[in-house]
């Protein structure tokens, strides 16, 4: 037995040498065990690793970051994309409303979201979930998001849910590194290059509005939407959070969100809450609207209404 374990009953110098050998062996084994980590320097450039928080970037920094991201997309997918940094339009606050009498659950909004926002095709990701609800109930427990039959069903109504762009957003409160925040036009955004992927915001959101990149998103090169924004639809890295951003790369340039344009029923209404003449204000003035989970005090900028 003693011969099996030479470290026992040895003079202390030899024992020390054996221990040192054991420690070296252990360290070598550890280095081998964590060797998959060496893929990080291949995927994360030094500039990316050292990049500062979005709010601390100067105009010059931003220009470099955007150019680097564009070059990386070109290198990885062979696609030429334009990544811009659209800022809020001064004085504008966006609001969204859905007419539940019109929505028929066809899911065109989800498909449009998937394509517009360069979502992972593998899981058909989208920022929108549509609940099929039985008539006569507002209890989400009765709802079903995985329906797979012709729509609309006679005894059902359909309720799309996406980020409610809360005025009191719990996701922003909990983020430990301020990687997500609310912008002046009411849109809650994520800096995909600052998020550490702890998913605390996903636990905090009462509307299931946040998504995590469990792996590198997969998008065929010919399906990439080249019109991209830094805080919106650019291709996200693995391991970070993302969410609906009201298509800010479109809406801050005066266009409408992709989900609204795709909707064949006209159920979706989008506009500037500060503009008395906007469509969204017409809805707020003329329809009895409600918000989801009002009791939580999140104060959504997203409204629902029925025609009659």
């Amino acid at each position: 037995m003693e011969s099996l374990l030479p470290i026992l009953n040895q003079p202390s110098t030899r024992r020390t040498a054996l221990k040192a050998a054991g420690a070296a062996l252990g360290l070598a084994a550890f280095g081998r065990a964590v060797s998959p980590l060496w893929s990080i320097p291949e995927n994360v450039s030094q500039e990316e690793f050292l990049q500062q928080h979005y709010k601390e970037l100067t105009e010059e920094d931003k220009r470099k970051v955007l150019a680097r991201l564009e070059a990386e997309t070109k290198e990885e997918l062979g696609v030429d994309v334009t990544i811009s940094d659209q800022r809020p339009i001064p004085g504008v606050r966006f609001g969204y409303a859905i007419n539940l009498s019109k929505c028929n659950g066809n899911g065109a909004c989800m498909k449009a979201c998937n394509e517009e926002n360069n979502h992972d095709r593998g899981v058909d990701q989208s920022y929108i979930r549509v609940l099929e609800m039985p008539m006569g109930s507002m209890d989400m427990e009765e709802g079903n998001t995985t329906y797979d039959h012709t729509v609309p069903q006679d005894d059902k109504f359909y309720m799309p849910v996406q980020c409610q762009q809360c005025d009191n957003p719990p996701c922003v409160t909990v983020c430990p590194v301020e990687a997500t925040w609310k912008e002046d036009d009411g849109i809650v955004v994520v800096d995909y290059n600052w998020c550490i992927g702890c998913r605390y915001c996903e636990a905090a959101c009462p509307y299931h509005a946040r998504r995590f990149n469990w792996e590198e998103p997969e998008i065929p090169a010919d399906e990439v939407n080249p019109d991209q924004g830094y805080l919106s639809n650019r291709i996200r890295p693995q391991g970070v959070m993302e969410k609906c951003h009201f298509c800010l790369h479109r809406t801050r340039e005066g266009r409408l969100p992709a989900c609204l344009e795709a909707c064949p029923t006209g159920a979706r209404v989008f506009g500037d809450l500060n503009d008395p003449e906007s469509d969204i204000n017409w809805v707020l003035k003329n329809k009895r609207v409600f918000v989801l989970k009002e009791d939580l005090g999140t104060q959504p900028s997203f409204f629902y209404f029925f025609d009659s």
């Binding site: 374990l5 964590v34 998959p36 998001t145 719990p170 600052w194 299931h208 469990w214 989970k293």
Partner: protein, 422 residues
């Protein structure tokens, strides 16, 4: 810290060969890695498991968290469950400090230092459990003040990072200082440790309270959104910590000459009796509120205990926990049976397993089921998650073993030197 301590070393110890704190630690590491065949087998097995865990984590970082079974619906799983339990263990480890110093119970001191060692190992396990849960561990520096951007004091997670690291430093100081003084055969200067001991009592309560606030502050998760969560965490920490220490003391008694009089064990058992009863009472109170009120507040509890809409994933877990907790509690209330050390070990193990489930899988996962849109997506840990978690436990035990060896060496070393003197 070490320079302060070296200043305190008096001239009368001139004969002592080792006088600086770093040298003491180096000597201690050498002593702590001496042992018999069983010891080396134990350390080898732990190292092997820790390496398997490290490898599984590295693969997870490279290929993505897709290798876990977490989803956008259940976005925290085994890692955060284990984290929550370890915070309790760390807090509970130091609860022993309260009777020892508050009531000046001299006999407790030998147990206290073991408790602090358990706390240190548990805190390291907490930190590891959080790190492995991060999607982007390469961005960890974003959490540091000044170079990163810390959402303090609004985000409870930044509080947690702060209190856990603070707690680690406090306990490292106390254990290191007391051991070093004992090693030098000097009476510890109360100025250098009593304030820290009181700080650590306050701090132990804060780490578990802040961890509970992490969950109970979320309005969108009715299952967690209860003011009773922090008190429940504390009550169960008062059970799992002492139970773990009783087990460690038992192992030390069998494998080393380090033994304590029965007094401290009796104190620990008393603490467990009271804390477990309070814990079960609060659990029952929680269940009443959830089931009597019903609706959204009851949905998670219904899924957890009885299953919901044909999904029963957590039912075996929680009933195992309930049976373990109840059986453990009953044993702790049978003084005659508890006299037998085997029964005592079983009782401690039952409570530890029960609380690991109740505060882990039974608390974190049902918070996500049903989801905020009332979808039911179930969760069971993947092989990678089990490997990583086992690796973290193995590393924790590795640390604890080394610390305990050091403690035992210093204490018995002192005894033998004392013997020579007299």
């Amino acid at each position: 810290m070490s320079s302060e301590i070296t200043q305190n070393v008096s001239r009368e110890d001139a004969a002592h060969p080792i006088r600086s704190y770093p040298k003491f630690l180096w000597w201690g590491l050498g002593e702590a890695t001496n042992g018999g065949l069983l010891f080396y087998l134990w350390m080898f097995a732990l190292t092997a498991i820790a390496l398997v865990g490290a490898n599984a984590w590295a693969v997870q970082v490279a290929d993505g968290m897709i290798l876990t079974n977490m989803t956008d619906h259940v976005s925290w799983g085994l890692y955060i469950a284990n984290f929550t339990f370890c915070v309790g263990l760390a807090a509970g480890g130091v609860m022993m400090v309260i009777p020892a110093y508050l009531y000046d119970d001299e006999e407790m001191h030998k147990v206290v230092i073991v408790g602090e060692a358990v706390a240190i190992a548990a805190i390291v396990m907490c930190t590891l459990s959080v790190v492995v849960d991060l999607g982007r561990p390469d961005r960890f520096w974003h959490l540091f003040p000044i170079i990163g951007r810390v959402n303090f004091p609004v985000s409870m997670l930044t509080w947690d990072v702060f209190v856990l690291n603070g707690y680690l430093l406090i306990n490292l100081h106390i254990v290191g200082y007391l051991l070093y003084m004992r090693f030098l055969d000097r009476k510890p200067n109360p100025k250098w440790y009593v304030p820290f001991v009181f700080l650590s009592i306050f701090w132990a309560i804060s780490i578990h309270t802040v961890t509970a606030f992490l969950y109970c502050g979320l309005g969108g998760r009715p299952f967690w959104n209860t003011a009773l969560l922090a008190p429940r965490f504390l009550a169960s920490a008062f059970v799992s910590g002492p139970a773990f220490i009783i087990l460690v003391m038992r192992i030390l008694r069998i494998t080393t000459e380090y033994s304590t009089p029965p007094g401290p064990a009796r104190t620990l058992i008393q603490i467990i009796r009271v804390a477990m009863t309070v814990n079960l009472l609060m659990f029952a109170s929680e269940l009443f509120t959830m089931f009597y009120t019903g609706g959204a507040h009851g949905a998670s509890a219904r899924y957890l205990l009885f299953g919901s809409h044909g999904h029963y994933g957590l039912v075996p877990w929680i009933w195992t926990a309930i049976v373990c907790n109840l059986a453990g509690t009953v044993l702790f209330f049978l003084p005659k049976a508890l006299e037998r050390s085997n029964i005592r070990i079983v009782a401690c193990l039952l409570c530890i397993v029960g609380i690991w489930i109740e505060k882990g899988m039974g608390l974190i996962v049902p918070g996500f089921i049903p989801s905020t849109l009332h979808e039911i997506v179930e969760y069971a840990p993947s092989l990678v998650e089990w490997k990583v978690t086992a690796g973290i436990w193995a590393f924790g035990f590795l640390l604890l073993t080394v610390m305990l060896k050091l403690i035992v060496t210093v204490f018995t070393h002192e005894q033998s030197r004392g013997g020579q003197k007299s």
